[in-house]
């Protein structure tokens, strides 16, 4: 080791994506045999930084030094060979194959020579036994990965990382779907690895967990590093403060909406899915923007998609204008004048190969039927009016929507729902992946809708957006509602405290 102190140094890393500077001169240094926590709000750049370290993204500027040597990573294979392993947030495995095959996938030991190579099952089994013994794991290597519990699948991933003789193991939100007991088992494994001299970079939102497991904590904010602190010197309040401590600039349009009477009341809503939201109650007023805050995994999307009838509900009541309603499917939701802008614009929002016009009219086709046939002319009138009103930048209404920028695609989806004349709009991360200029336009549309008496529920993981746009802010943590704050008196610290209440 060059200076004998750090196993890994990331010096002055910058990474630019079209429209955003995702990482701006970030420096993180990790000592061998320590657990190094990486903290920050959603979108602070933690995952991007780790993807740079794991060779998934290339680095625009800056230097990665591993074991005293400067390295440039072309792909993850190279990172693995150099001793950097990553355990992903979503587990990447082949579900219908055995633990054994998943463990050694891409590097099966072989016997034979020349073109006559066969997988050496005996050696694979022996290596696996040795590895599992070392980690004190007791999973039967012949079982299918699909049949394992989440924590077992995760320990397989860890075993895989260890089997690469990793010097650095990145763990991205490893406990997000584990029970308390499983977490303590994971921590045992982590401590054992640490004692063997492995450095672990640990990404989590859970403050208590971070303080319990880590030796050092690096905090990031808005793509920059705030600093690295010994865990012993930190408290949850200090971490929150350093994670959010930024000034709010004037990035939001003025609002003049006045919330009126209650239009929708949700009572004791509980999901039928395992580990999702439970017992959530809130109400929504006419002309109100209700922000929904929380960390990744707070089950906000699940809650709102269940209200819209896309996911099964175990118990709970929805009243719309005082009348109890069973929604159950999006067709019924639409009839009750609800609208939903989903979180994953590309996966569940746009129909890529269809035109701007077709995407705009899909939720409202019946309106354009004359004598049993669709009138292209009536449709075009509405489409063109929407394009003008929302200032969608598109060569024409006939352009396939995939050719538009993210912000303009989002405007088309807004137009789609506005044409159904909804009373309640549910917006799930409406500005995700949209550049700053288009964001302001989206905010203006939202503010204008509220002004016109529409009620809006807006999930957002961006603090400034929540604070800048909401009349009230509902905060969720681990599937439960932890509080509703008044928009005018809410602060980032208050939201963060509620969002981490059960952690």
């Amino acid at each position: 080791m060059a200076d004998g102190q750090y196993i890994l140094e990331m010096n002055g890393i910058s990474k630019r994506f079209p429209g955003v500077l995702a990482l701006d001169d970030v420096t993180v240094k990790v000592r061998p045999g320590t657990v190094h926590a990486l903290m920050g709000e959603n979108g602070a750049g933690k995952s991007t930084l780790m993807k740079c370290l794991f060779g998934i993204y290339s680095v625009d500027q800056g230097e990665i030094i591993l074991d005293g040597k400067s390295i440039v990573l072309a792909d993850s294979r190279q990172a693995l060979d150099l001793g950097i392993s990553m355990i992903h947030q979503e587990l990447l495995s082949v579900p219908c194959r055995s633990v054994l095959e998943n463990l050694w996938l891409g590097r099966f030991p072989t016997v034979g020579f020349g073109p006559f190579k066969f997988v050496n099952h005996r050696r694979m089994a022996a290596d696996t036994r040795k590895l599992f013994a070392e980690l004190r794991m007791t999973i039967d290597p012949k079982r299918w990965v699909r049949d394992l519990s989440v924590s077992q699948a995760q320990s397989i991933e860890i075993a895989k990382a260890v089997s690469y003789n990793a010097k650095v193991i990145i763990m991205d939100e490893p406990t997000s779907s584990l029970t308390e007991h499983e977490v303590s088992h994971l921590f045992e494994i982590i401590r054992r690895l640490r004692d063997q001299g492995v450095a672990i970079i640990y990404i989590s939102h859970k403050l208590e967990e971070i303080l319990a497991i880590s030796d050092e904590v690096s905090i990031m904010r808005d793509g920059r590093s705030v600093g690295t602190y010994p865990a012993k010197e930190l408290t949850t309040d200090l971490i929150i403060n350093r994670m959010v401590g930024r000034d709010l600039t004037n990035r939001f349009p003025p609002r003049s909406n006045v919330p009126g009477e209650v239009v929708m009341r949700v009572e004791n809503f509980t999901s039928a899915e395992r580990k999702s939201f439970r017992d959530v109650s809130f109400d929504l007023r006419k002309g109100e923007i209700l922000g929904v805050g929380g960390l990744v995994g707070a089950r906000r999307t699940e809650l709102l998609e269940s209200i819209f009838g896309l996911r099964p509900v175990e118990s709970g009541v929805i009243r719309i204008n005082g009348k109890q309603e069973r929604i159950g499917n999006p067709i019924r939701a639409k009839r009750l004048k609800l609208a939903l802008l989903t979180e994953e614009r590309r996966a569940t929002g746009i129909i890529p190969m269809l035109s701007v016009k077709d995407n705009m009219l899909i939720a409202n086709r019946q309106k354009y039927v004359r004598f049993g046939l669709l009138s292209e002319r009536l449709g075009s009138v509405d489409a063109q009016r929407s394009i003008d009103m929302l200032r969608v930048k598109t060569p024409s209404e006939k352009t396939p929507i995939r050719d538009l920028s993210g912000g303009n695609q989002q405007k088309v989806l807004f137009a789609k729902w506005l044409l159904t004349d909804p009373d309640i709009l549910i917006l799930d991360e409406p500005t995700r992946g949209i550049d700053v200029g288009a964001k302001f336009e989206i905010y203006t549309i939202i503010a204008d809708l509220a002004q016109r008496g529409k009620s809006i529920i807006m999930i957002s993981s961006e603090m400034p957006e929540l604070l800048g746009m909401s009349d009230r802010i509902m905060v969720m943590c681990e599937g439960r509602m932890t509080g509703i704050l008044d928009g005018s008196s809410a602060t980032q610290e208050k939201i963060m405290t509620l969002a981490t209440q059960f952690m």
Binding site: A333, L340, T342, T348, I350, I351, M353, L354, D358, L374
Partner: protein, 348 residues
């Protein structure tokens, strides 16, 4: 920018335009080349009579392709199409044999109005389509497997119907003249300058289907479901209902095609329609319908079928071995799709 650079840029632009053009019209270029080669070898190929023959040969295939095409647009597929055609042919033929024909399947059956058996055959196929739709949309079985199942079952059912007393399994012949006339008759003075009825029926079917796919809520929903089923569902489209309907509607078309096939050839056996589904899928794909859904037009389906008919007819006309013809057709399918996919790959 230096002049040299600019010249280079313009050159790049022009070559890009050219390659875009080639990509867009590749299949037509291949088509024109084929026709050119065929007519060079056999100048008589370019005649009205051949043109008319190609059209009537294409008619039933067009009707089948229109049905399969709609299903492909939703991202599905239908392997049972050909067997449904066969079933419709047998059912309609069995009820339309001449009164004085010796081996009637139903010896005591009265003379029926010609439309009755046709409607019955179409309804039978619509029910099979309904079943396909149920298995795909409600049981969520992948369309390939679902229709593989009906493909086998329908052939079995057809064979049971076909192979029974008093005469057992033998071709159904002696068809009513009104019926055969529908398959081989024409409007016009003589057999050259005229339009066959089946061509008129295929044109009518194409117009109706074009209207259905382009001018109705149902049609627009087909494209949306094929393009992004989740987005369609979130937008309040009844995906289940629309899927069931398209399989059912395709069944109606196969039923019609089967009747015309029996009328055209003057008979039917349980092997009628064998492999027609693959011809229809190939024609759609060559005509630009995407097997992953969301893309496809009625004119494209028509052109796809016509291309195959021209190849079939033309290559036979110049005396090419039927085996070699298969190789040429296979190559055309692969080339068409490989080129078509380039269009979308370059856009990403």
């Amino acid at each position: 920018m230096s002049i040299l650079n600019r010249v280079q840029d313009e050159g790049n632009n022009r070559s890009k335009q050219l390659s875009d053009f080639l990509l867009k019209y590749a299949i037509y270029i291949v088509f024109v080349l084929l026709v050119a080669v065929i007519s060079f070898k056999e100048p008589e190929f370019l005649s009205i009579e051949n043109f008319r023959n190609i059209l009537s040969m294409s008619s039933t295939r067009i009707i089948i392709a229109l049905g399969v095409g709609g299903i492909l647009i939703t991202g599905g597929t239908d392997l049972s199409a050909g067997r449904q055609v066969g079933l419709a042919a047998v059912v309609s033929a069995s009820m339309l044999q001449q009164l004085d024909y010796a081996r009637r399947m139903y010896p005591n059956l009265q003379l029926l109005p010609i439309w009755v058996p046709i409607v019955i055959a179409m309804i039978v196929c619509a029910c099979i389509g309904l079943f396909n739709g149920f298995v795909v949309a409600i049981l969520k079985v992948p369309p390939f497997i679902a229709t593989l199942g009906t493909w086998l079952a329908v052939y079995g059912i057809n064979s049971m119907y076909f192979d029974r007393p008093p005469y057992g399994a033998q071709p159904i012949g002696g068809l009513d003249q009104r019926f055969t006339n529908l398959g081989s008759g024409y409007i016009g003075r003589d057999s050259v300058y005229s339009i066959p009825y089946i061509v008129l029926i295929a044109i009518a079917a194409a117009i109706i289907v074009w209207v259905l796919y382009n001018k109705t809520v149902f049609g627009k929903n087909l494209y949306a479901i094929g393009g992004n089923p989740v987005a369609a569902k979130v937008s309040g489209v009844n995906v289940t209902k629309n899927l069931i309907f398209i399989y059912c509607f395709a069944g109606l078309l196969y039923g019609l095609a089967g009747c015309l096939e029996a009328a055209r050839t003057g008979g039917a056996t349980n092997n009628y329609g064998n492999m027609y589904e693959l011809d229809a899928i190939a024609a759609c794909v060559v005509g630009g319908v995407s097997t992953s859904g969301g893309i496809g037009t009625v004119p494209g389906m028509l052109i796809g079928v016509l291309i195959f008919s021209v190849i079939n007819y033309g290559l036979t006309f110049i005396g090419m071995s039927p085996y070699l013809q298969l190789v040429v057709k296979g190559a055309i399918i692969l080339a068409a799709v490989a080129i078509d996919i380039r269009k979308y790959l370059t856009k990403k």
